[in-house]
Each structure stands twice: as C-alpha cells, then as structure tokens.
Symmetry: C2
C-alpha cells in the first residue's frame, strides 16, 4: 500500500541529470556547427526550445522503468537513453506545432515562429514566414536524427541496445500514426468516443507512458512480468494524462499551461471531451458546437459558450470521472507490480501529479 | 587504366536487390498497419513514392564501397544497409518537395499532393491541402524512422554497426545543414560562387557520394587508405553530379527529368550556374535575371530569356567545363585507388553515367 514516508527517486535531481546530458550534447553540436561554418541559429533555437521547460515525463518514466526492472549501478547510459527520449519529444513537438500553426509553446514562441523572427530582420515577412516553416521541418528532422545519435552513443552494451531497439522502433511508428489520426480527425469532431480514445492511446498512453517505461525496463534486462506490470500502470495513466490535457486545452489557464487556450477549440481536435459533449448535446447545443468548433476566428466569448455547453452536458464531469477511475487503475496496478517499493512509491507520485496537474 | 572489357558489378541486379528489400520491408509495415487498424494510405503513398523510380545512386555506391573495402560473402546485411540509405533519401525528398512546394517528382505527384488528393474526396480543398502538407511531414518522419529501423535490423555484427554509425550520424547532420543552407540561399541568388559550392558539397557531394561509399567500406572493415580513396573519387563526382542537376533544372526535358523545368528558376535556387551568370552578366542581363529569378509566375517565355542569358554569359559552357574537369578528377582518383579492379571499373561507369545523364 501507499506509504507517504517510503523512500522514492529524487525526481528533481533526475530531471536535472537528463537536462544536463541534453545541454552538453547540444553544446557539442553548436561547437561542431561553428567549426564547419554552419549557421548558428539552427542549434541555438533547438537549445532554447529544449531548455524552455517541460515536465520531462518521458525521461523520468524511462529511468523509473530501469529501476523497476532491477537496474543498479552506474546510470550514465540510462540517463543518456532517457535524454534521447526527450530529444525525440522535442522533434515531435516542433513538427506538431508547425502542423497546428501554434504560435507559442511553454510560454515561448514555437520553433517556426522563432526562425521566422530570425529571418525577418533581413528578408520580407512572407519569405521569413516560409523560411520559418521550412526551417522548423529541418530543425525537427535534426532533433529526430540527434535523438537517435544520443541513443546510439549512450554506451549501452550490444545486448542491452538489442533489447531496447524494438521498443524504440514501435514507439516511433506508433506516435507518428497517432499524430496522423489526430490530424485527420481534427476539424471533424464526432460523437465517436472509440476513435477519440484510439488517438489518446497511440498518441499519449503508449508513447508518453508505456514505451518510456519499457525502454528503461529493457535496459535493465527486465523479465516479461515487469514489462506487463509497466503496461498495466502506464496505459490508464497515459489515458488519464491525455484527458487532463484535453480539459486543460479548454479550461486551462494560459499563464500556467504556456499555450493559448483557444487553439484546441479553433483546431477542433477530436477529443474524448468533445465526443461526449456531442453525444449528449441537445439540438440547440449541437448546433452551437458545430458552428463554433474549428472556426479559426473563434474568440473568448465563443470559448465561454463552448465551455458552458461542455459543462451543461456533463461532459466535463464525465471526463473528470474517467480521470479518477483511470488514476485508481494505475494505483491499483502498482499494488501488485513486481517493482521495488521505492519505485512503486515514485510511480504513485508521478500518477498523482500527471492527473491532477494544472499545466 | 580503364578497360571496357574488365568485369564489373551487375548494377541492374544490385538495384533490383535493394528495391526488393525495401518493398518487402514496406509490405510488412502495411500488414502491421492493417492489423492495428491504422490508416492504409500512409504506407501506400510511401510505397508508391519509393517504387516510382530513381537512380538508386546512394545504395549502389554503398554496395560498391563494400566491395572497395574488400567485402566478400553473404550480401544480405549490406543490401539492407544500402536500402536504408534509399529510405533515408525518400525522407529527404518528401520533406524537400514540401518545402519547395513541388507538384511532381519522378513524373508522379509528390507526397503532399498525393495525400491532398486522397483527402479531397471527403474534405474541402483547403482542408485537404493542409492535410496533404501536414501528412507529408509525418510520412517523411516515418521514412526517416524506418530508414533507421532498416539499418538496425540489417543483421550487422555489433563491431560493424559500431563502425558505420558515426558515418550515418555525420551524413544525417550534414544533409540537414545542407538543406538549410539551400533554403536560406534560395530567392536570394548572388555571384558568391563559394557559397553555392558549399551547398553543393554538403547537400550532394558528401551526402550522395562520399558517405554512401564510406558506409559500405566501413561495413567491410576497410582501412583508412580505402576511405581516403573513396573521398578523392566521391567529392569531385558529387560536385559534378550537382552541377549536372543544376543544368538539367534549367535546360532539362521535363519528360525525362520527371520534374517541371520552371521550378528551379521560380525558386531561384542559389546554384553555381546562376552565381557564374550573375558574376559575368552586364547591367542589362543582370537586371533581367534579378527581375525574373524567383518570380512564382515565371513562364516559359521568361525561362527562355533566362536560358539565353545563361548561355550568352558563358555560364552554361563554364559549368560544362567544370563538370568535365571534376569527372576527370574522379577518374584520376580511381587510377591510384587501392580498390579491386572490378570495382574501379564499376565506379568509372557510375561516374560517366552520373555526369552525362539527361534525367
């Protein structure tokens, strides 16, 4: 059972170790670029982006997976592997922000906006904007290539690398399919709850929680029972995480989430929250949702009308209930998991923070 | 010395082996997607793109590098490694076509156009076009991830993989920087010949010729003298290849090159050809070039005026001379290279075909 006094992993220190690893890697890339007289802004903008914050949930879960699988001793290789997951996530976010035409992320300009601003000093606005978009594709591509370089140069023994690569390959393919599904469903929200849950599962539950735990556990040579327990904890946690994200996308405070609260509604993402609302809405509410969702000129007044309908239909309360149930499932999975107690305790704390967060 | 009767690698058969490897891999991905109920069009469009042709120069040079390094015996792993380079190239082209807003490649619609056409049946034209662009980012990302999967599952011994990975990592970073430089220079052509040659070196000479040879040679455990000889052959060959590409982009027959002849001029790529023309143009010619280059509405009549100036200034003839000299350098490098004679003979033929081609 949960014990508030049980020892747990020092998450802030672990987070710092991962951040230092990424920072050192990118500093090396910046020196190399200068030596080859390559443009400095490419690495600089990636550095700014990665260092601007983020929960570092994936690297933390990777390191927890390593402990869960019985990992002991020198952590250098596992920290660098965890860092490679964070670099992969930077790639995913950079391309995602471009596809969503988002202006800000973590309270800062997105990469395509930063690059456009960089070029606008010397070129016209239209050219700068195009260079921003194209450059962001390339910066994202570099982050993907470099996430692989971090993994391959982590110093893993060949048998450990061989154990972890299939997990990495599955993760990459799954998240790209998840993004594609998300893309196709956006702008066309329906009451199809299953479709919304499939996106949440591929885009978030597997990518954000299950795969990072599996990567870490595989590095430690974990047996199948440990991997299974990781899944039983990670999938409900990841779905709860995504549901919380959907609620924050509509009800969140921009100064806390770091992104404008209107973006999700303007893009009309096909979320579980909207699927439930559309299922329960009466004719009048349905018409309002259909008219406003996906409208690029949607304003604060429209957002209030949508929020009122999401609340009135009970969709908001239902999603909160689902988060509560999924959170309990994740906790329950930990009670029977063959993990060392200090790691079960850490994973409980992560589940609490990920589902109750405000940012 | 060159000997027309010397035995050489069967290039068509080698090309087919690489294509079969890619086709089998993508067929597996298509089955997996169907099993997980993922959208079929993603893999299908990538399959269409990869199977639509291409010179397969990079995989052929990779396999030549393996022979040059003394490779003998079972070729399964080296063929799959070569296939991973072709998959990487598919990634680069898909993102390149999107950044350049190109409509056709190899005579077929580009990936963003194919995806837009796929979605236009059910969604409005604007939404379909946006899904095409975003989807092409993701299909390119998948091709990059899958090129790595092909490499990692090629069955290479750990020491061979360790030898080849630094080459792969350099190649990925170099080509992305090269693309970025190309991007920034487009629309702003100058008489700066050095800058144009730097782009050609990073984007093509190293990426298309030197690195594939190094990948293959490293797989065979080649010594430094072999790697050095590969470079001495590859860099002039790659520069000649890019210069021929620049000429074909302006003077080529679209029915042979598979791409519209006006694209390069409309994008105003900063090529060696244009740099020389701008250097030599008189005031009147300079004004015409400045006015027409980069104009998105540039038509066939404008293209003829530009071609006439490129010819009149002697820029076209100068680029042909450069190709001739670089081609001779590549041949000369082979005379002293520590390669088996049949591979020197094959590389001579590749150099002849790559510099004299019409497509």
């Amino acid at each position: 059972m949960a014990n508030a006094a049980a020892p747990a992993v020092d998450l802030p220190a672990t987070r710092r170790a991962v951040e230092t690893c990424i920072e050192d890697f990118l500093e090396g890339k910046q020196h190399a670029a200068a030596q080859h007289r390559m443009p400095a802004e490419v690495v600089q903008i990636l550095r700014n982006f990665v260092s601007a914050g983020g929960k570092r949930l994936r690297p933390l879960l990777c390191i927890c997976g390593w402990y869960a699988g019985g990992g002991v001793g020198d952590m250098t290789a596992v920290v660098q592997t965890a860092a490679s997951l964070e670099m992969f996530h930077a790639f995913a976010l950079i391309h995602d922000d471009l596809m969503d035409h988002s202006d800000t992320r973590r309270g800062n300009p997105t990469v395509h906006r930063s690059l456009a601003a960089h070029h606008s000093a010397l070129r016209g606005q239209e050219v700068a904007s195009r260079l921003g978009a194209s450059g962001a594709i390339l910066v994202g591509d570099l982050a993907l290539a470099w996430s692989d370089e971090l993994l391959q140069t982590a110093g893993l023994a060949p048998d450990r690398l061989a154990a972890v690569l299939p997990v990495i390959h599955s993760m990459r393919t799954e998240v790209m399919y998840g993004q594609y599904l998300d893309l196709c469903a956006a702008g066309d929200p329906t009451a199809d709850l299953d479709a919304a849950l499939t996106v949440a599962r591929y885009k978030t539950a597997k990518y954000t929680c299950e795969r990072p735990l599996h990567v870490g556990a595989s590095l430690a040579g974990a047996d199948p029972a440990v991997l299974k327990a990781c899944t039983e904890y990670a999938i409900p946690l990841g779905e709860a995480f995504q549901l919380r994200d959907d609620l924050l996308g509509v009800y969140g405070a921009p100064e806390q989430t770091g992104k404008p609260v209107l973006d999700d509604l303007r893009d009309s993402k096909h979320t579980v929250l909207l699927a439930i609302a559309l299922e329960r809405a009466d004719a009048a509410q349905h018409k309002v949702l259909r008219t406003l969702l996906g409208d690029p000129s949607l304003d604060n007044h429209d957002a209030i009308r949508i929020r009122d309908i999401l609340t009135a239909t009970g969709a908001r309360a239902e999603v909160e209930r689902m988060i509560h149930t999924l959170h309990a499932q994740a906790h329950h999975a930990l009670e029977h998991a063959p993990f060392p107690p200090f790691i079960a305790q850490t994973l409980r704390r992560i589940a609490d923070a990920a589902t109750a967060r405000t940012a």
